[in-house]
């Protein structure tokens, strides 16, 4: 899995690509912890090139959502491929944090 930061005026986008599986989920968790630790309280995960998400990946999303829920915090996902969206929807995660069709829609209200 590859990750690329993309700081914007009203939040930071983390572009993800590849598989979020048992070997890469800890890397994602580390990166999110680092970003949040550095004071980023508005984080948008961009999923267009993610091909797979494991239960370990879902866990990281949930943990991150819990960390970013103070007033003014924002956490969301955008550009989900069908197979990833299906997993989130079937697991009930689509009600836990906002999911946007694209980056613009995500950052618009932040």
């Amino acid at each position: 899995m590859e990750m690329r930061e993309d700081p914007r005026e009203n939040g930071i986008i983390l572009h993800l690509s590849g598989r979020i599986d048992s070997s890469t989920a800890p890397l994602l968790e580390g990166e999110l912890n680092r970003l949040i630790g550095a004071g980023n309280r508005k984080v948008l995960l961009e999923f267009s090139s993610v091909t797979y998400i494991s239960s370990g990946g879902l866990r990281i999303l949930l943990i991150t959502a819990k960390k970013l829920r103070d007033p003014g915090d924002r956490f969301g996902l955008c550009c989900l491929p069908a197979e990833v969206y299906k997993i989130l929807r079937m697991a009930g995660f689509t009600s836990l944090f906002p999911i946007y069709p694209d980056e613009g829609a995500g950052l618009a209200g932040w």
Partner: protein, 581 residues
């Protein structure tokens, strides 16, 4: 250190040991992790000669074996008799390719049928094709346990004296209750006689060799294993007979150590237990399909979609448990949440799927063969199965999820074992079935009255609350239209399997972002046609080619025929059945 019941160490690997029961001889076992690339090898040495059982399939293995021989004989060109427990390539290919074995001092020997297979370069009986190899014909001068020797009593094979590595052989069958067990005595040297036994079943040429209290048993312990049972040349009846005969040999000839073709040497009592297990398993393998290269290709493709689907179901189950625990914690029900966390085996399953994915990458890169991925998937699936805490999970999460995972596992294992997948059949009215599923998908978790009625009972309330919270309204924002003619729509199908297939198609459409799904059911002459589509799907097709193939297989098992394609600009999935009305 592994020891025999008497306290003696079984054997030290990759070292010279006294041969149990014939201590004047020395035995060098080379055992390795179990795989289909290369077998174990065993070297038996007298002062004058060497017998090498199964050289295996790796050049580095030959290197170890030749230096072990060098340890005893230095630079002396000692005669080497190579005996193949059977001629599957993982046991013999080094002897066919490595120039060390082409020297005059080396004599290749096999049971008659195996020798013939090597001499005609038979890629099927040797499993060469299945394991991605291509054999050139090779001469195998020493044919043992040949039918031509039967009835020749004490007459030695005429070709033996030509090579110092030849074996003096004498046919001496064991006849018990009218059953003939083909046996040949072989003079090993130094006054010691070995016994060769013909033990077909795993392959027609399988044989075992006993010297003293040591039995070299080839692959009989693996003959009923998924993926191995049913290989070309496999024979259930012969295998059962061979197991019975070997059990008798181990018992009556006081065998102490059994050296299998793969895995570590065993105490005789352990080997007997395993043989009895193999016997029981073999009895269940009536009428299995042949595991040939074509079938391995089919199952290899199936294994990839299977693991993809299993991964998806387990991720959803774990995701729902995570979601539920999160909500319960928010409601300050941490105790209930931690009870549910115990059901979560997501990390274990993630690791197994990851392991399979890495293996799949090697497969797609052409580094491993179809049969390897088939066996890897079987290994992974068998480890995943116990992770499915059926009762606990079904109590809180949609039980059809567990049912679907269970069925995937069982279908795959049946396929790998060579069985046809079991499926039920019955007269079903499709309009009732579809209405029922659509109604269930659109239903609320539970009625408000229901939960209010039990509010006084703390335990019952908590259980009902968990169930209510666990209900994931996957279709709540999707309009599902069900349109049907007056029918009747009675067909022959497997109701449970079709319900799950239908639900899976709807979930796939929902996952692809459908806002509206239309289902139509029409009776046309002698056909009942069920069609599912969405008019507002994003441009990307919701089903990959591999998924369509999987749906096709499932549909076949439901007695239907699937069609998939764009009609009027919409991706439509059709399932048609022969009408019974």
């Amino acid at each position: 250190m592994r020891v025999l019941p008497g306290g003696k160490e079984i054997l030290t690997n990759s070292s010279w040991n006294p041969l149990p029961g014939a201590e004047d001889l020395r035995l060098f076992p080379f055992t390795r992790k179990i795989d289909t690339v290369s077998s174990n090898s065993y070297i038996i040495a007298t002062n004058e000669r060497v017998i090498l059982i199964d050289p295996g399939g790796l050049p580095e293995q030959t290197g170890i074996l030749t230096s072990a021989i060098g340890q005893l004989f230095g630079t002396r060109d000692v005669p080497v008799t190579v005996l193949f427990s059977h001629v599957h390539v993982d046991h013999c290919i080094e002897a066919l390719r490595n120039p060390w074995f082409a020297r005059p001092a080396v004599l290749l020997g096999a049971q008659d049928a195996g020798a013939a297979a090597l001499e005609r370069g038979d890629n099927r009986l040797t499993q060469a094709k299945l394991l991605g190899e291509d054999l050139a014909p090779v001469r195998v001068p020493l044919r043992v346990l040949a039918p031509v020797d039967r009835g020749t009593g004490a007459i030695y094979r005429p070709d033996f004296p030509r090579s110092p590595a030849g074996l003096r052989l004498r046919y001496n069958p064991i006849v018990e209750e009218g059953e003939v067990f083909h046996r040949q005595f072989a003079d090993i040297g130094e006054g010691i006689t070995g016994e060769l036994y013909h033990t077909p079943g795993h392959s027609p040429d399988s044989m075992c060799l006993r010297i003293g209290r040591t039995l070299f048993m080839g692959d009989i312990l693996f003959a009923a294993s998924p993926g191995m049972a049913g290989v070309v040349g496999w024979d259930q009846k012969a295998l059962l007979s061979s197991i019975r005969n070997l059990l008798s040999v181990i018992e009556h000839d006081h065998v102490e150590v059994c050296c299998p073709g793969h895995g570590r040497p065993l105490a005789a009592s352990d080997a007997m237990d395993l043989l009895r297990d193999v016997y029981r398993d073999t009895l269940t393998l009536d009428g299995i399909q042949e595991m040939n290269p074509e079938r391995a290709r089919f199952i290899a493709e199936y294994s990839e979609i299977l693991t993809e689907r299993l991964s998806e179901i387990f991720t959803v189950i774990t995701g729902r448990l995570l979601y539920l625990c999160h909500i319960l914690e928010e409601l300050e029900e941490a105790g209930v949440a931690s009870g549910l966390e115990e059901l979560d085996r997501g990390a274990l399953v993630d690791d197994l799927i990851q392991e399979f994915h890495r293996f799949g990458e090697s497969y797609r890169a052409g580094k491993v063969q179809d049969v390897h991925i088939v066996l890897k998937a079987a290994q992974v699936v068998r480890k995943i199965e116990p992770a499915l805490e059926k009762e606990g999970i079904s109590a809180v999460i949609d039980p059809t999820m567990v049912r679907r995972a269970e069925r995937l596992i069982s279908d795959y294992m049946s396929t790998v074992r060579g069985f046809r997948i079991e499926h039920g059949t019955g007269r079903i009215d499709l309009s009732n079935l579809v209405s029922g599923i659509v109604g269930k998908m659109s239903a609320e978790a539970s009625e408000d009255d229901e939960i209010m009625d039990i509010a006084d009972d703390e335990e019952a309330f908590r259980t009902a609350l968990v169930r209510r919270l666990a209900h994931i309204p996957v279709f709540d924002e999707i309009e599902i239209l069900f349109d049907h003619d007056k029918g009747p729509h009675v067909v022959n199908t497997d109701e449970e399997r079709l319900s799950d297939l239908f639900a899976a198609i709807l979930e796939d459409l929902a996952g692809a972002g459908a806002g509206e799904i239309t289902i139509s059911l029409v009776k046309e002459e002698d056909t009942v046609a069920l069609t599912i589509w969405s008019s507002d799907l994003p441009s990307r097709a919701p089903f990959s080619k591999r998924e369509i193939k999987f749906l096709q297989t499932e549909c076949d098992l439901c007695g239907g025929r699937i069609s998939y394609g764009k009609v009027d600009g919409h991706v439509k999935i059709g399932i048609s059945f022969n009408s019974l009305s």
